[in-house]
């Protein structure tokens, strides 16, 4: 009955090392002659796609989009990444749609001009700068990385984004951050109606004014507005702007050169009122079944 006298060591708080070992998160070198390390928790390679291309940021090239279709431009970007180019400049985008979508790699992408709908959507990793305007649904569903737009943006800016920083230095259209599930959207100017509609997580910072129905039916997440809010949507409520909020806003806005002269003390913080949270409640028909 030796097993009965064994007491599990539940005091994980004491040692980081113990905790890491129990989770299997310790460095595992091979004991043979090679001494090869085959698992390292801090190793960066564990967190990139196995097919990710090895690119060098110092290798720079330009790509003229004139006369090419969107598909050709996007295929060309992949081709250049295969060749190891880590900085790609796209010239003459002329409002083409879906430029630079689906890049799951580290990359410096610079777009010298304006793009159409869905530009740099579905990305995971790249740092994008657009020296022009973007159309509807820029950065839609992005997972990580940064997108900085120098001029204005269209509607549904950052629809359903999950991570990363999506920044527009000008004004954006309506329904900004609709259904966002993470990440940060930063707008230097104004935003239109129904911004943050049904947002579920993440942060949205609007330095200018917000249109009507801000944060309508938001589940969670936070919206900061520097200017006037025309009206709040259903179940969006104002919350206290804490020191932590201010510190974060200051750092984040300074990072993108959007820090207002008067500081961030005047920002309004909007969160979900959680009055629509009825997840555990049964539908009337379900109630009947149980009764």
């Amino acid at each position: 009955m030796a097993g009965m006298s064994w007491t599990p060591d539940l005091d994980y708080g004491k040692s980081q090392e113990t905790r890491a070992r129990d989770l299997g998160m310790n460095t595992e070198p091979l004991t043979g002659r090679s001494m090869e390390v085959f698992f390292e928790p801090a190793e960066e390679e564990n967190f990139v796609y196995p097919w990710a291309k090895d690119v060098d940021f110092n290798k720079r090239t330009e790509l003229d989009a004139d006369g090419l279709t969107t598909t050709e431009v996007n295929a060309k970007i992949r081709e250049l990444m295969d060749q190891g180019y880590g900085t790609i400049v796209i010239q003459n985008p002329r409002g083409k749609h879906s430029l630079g979508v689906g890049i799951l790699n580290r990359l410096n992408l610079i777009i010298e001009g304006s793009t159409g709908y869905f530009s740099t959507g579905l990305i995971d990793g790249p740092n994008v700068r657009v020296n022009g305007r973007v159309g509807w649904s820029c950065g839609e569903n992005m997972m990580s990385g940064t997108v900085v737009v120098e001029k204005n943006a269209g509607s549904t800016f950052g629809a359903a984004i999950r991570g990363g920083d999506l920044v527009c230095k000008g004004h954006v259209g309506s329904r900004t951050g609709i259904d966002m599930k993470g990440g940060t959207i930063i707008v230097g100017g104004d935003t239109g109606a129904l911004s943050g509609f049904m947002m579920q997580r993440g942060r949205m910072v609007v330095c200018g004014n917000a249109g009507k129905n801000l944060g309508d039916s938001m589940y969670d997440g936070t919206i900061y507005v520097g200017g006037k809010i025309r009206s709040l949507g259903v179940d969006a409520v104002e919350a206290e702007l804490t020191q932590l909020d201010q510190a974060w806003l200051t750092r984040k806005l300074t990072q993108y050169g959007l820090m207002p002269e008067q500081g961030v003390g005047h920002f309004t913080k909007i969160v979900a009122g959680k009055q629509l949270w009825n997840y555990d409640n049964l539908e009337p028909t379900e109630k009947k079944l149980i009764l």
């Binding site: 409002g95 304006s114 305007r133 259209g173």
Partner: protein, 311 residues
Amino acid sequence: MCGIAGLIHRGKQSNVGAEMTAMLQALKHRGPDSTGFAVYGPPSAGDLVMRFKVAEQEDMGKGHGIEARIAERIDEVEKRIAEKGAVIKHRDMATPYARRWVISPASDMEALAAYIEEVDGAEILSLGSALELVKDLGDATVVSGQYGLGDFTGTHAIGHTRMATESDVDIRSAHPYWAFPYNDVSVVHNGQITNYWNMRRQMERLGHRFQSNCDSELLAVYVAHDLANGVALEDSLRKSIEEIDGVFTYLVATKDKLGMAKDTMAAKPLVLYESDDLIAMASEEVAIRAILPQEIDTYDPYDEEVRVWQA
């Protein structure tokens, strides 16, 4: 999902026919069913340009002696114009089923227009001293080539590429709509109007005629009704946003003005470019880029936004 575009030059004339063709060709992917142009030249003194059709493009392939019937219909239109006291000054044949005639004004233009439209298959596409309206099946270059718009010089234009969602694919349901019987007014629209039938019945009770079942025609009739009652274009656009339900962005052009209105949800796109001598707008930026190669600043108008520009 349709594509709309508009441009207006301030204080000068330009080749708006070719410019609008380039813009609409860039928007072809938004609607390949039909393309329409409303281009505005310098207003002629006295005489009016009447563009009309007496059959659909589809009818031409069906036979049944359509050529003879078209000839009969044209004769009938000619007879009716003479009956109402107008004179045909010039005749152009745009397509086998569409004509462009220059006529002298009759004493009652509305009665004349209504009388002509009683002819089987006849529909007046536009009537006015500055407006030329063409619309047909096909993309922008096809329609523009067919009707010879490539060298049209004027001050402003609106255009439309249509993806039919609410009614048939034919010329009758194609945009732009001429605001019958109001001279020189045309409308293009992208969206869906949800209280169409209520509004249409209201307009019909006021004595207005509808040629198609296309919801966009309502906007043309609505604006025409207001303008005829002395309401300013801007006020009419503002009022329409409150009274008309649905999701829409639409453009209205008159002899010397171009206006835009966006619904309360801002659900339909429009990109605007403004400079001192040119204002261009379109559903997508690609259309504006088609005529402006240099780097420009553009923006999206917000919900309930109404703008009017003077040529």
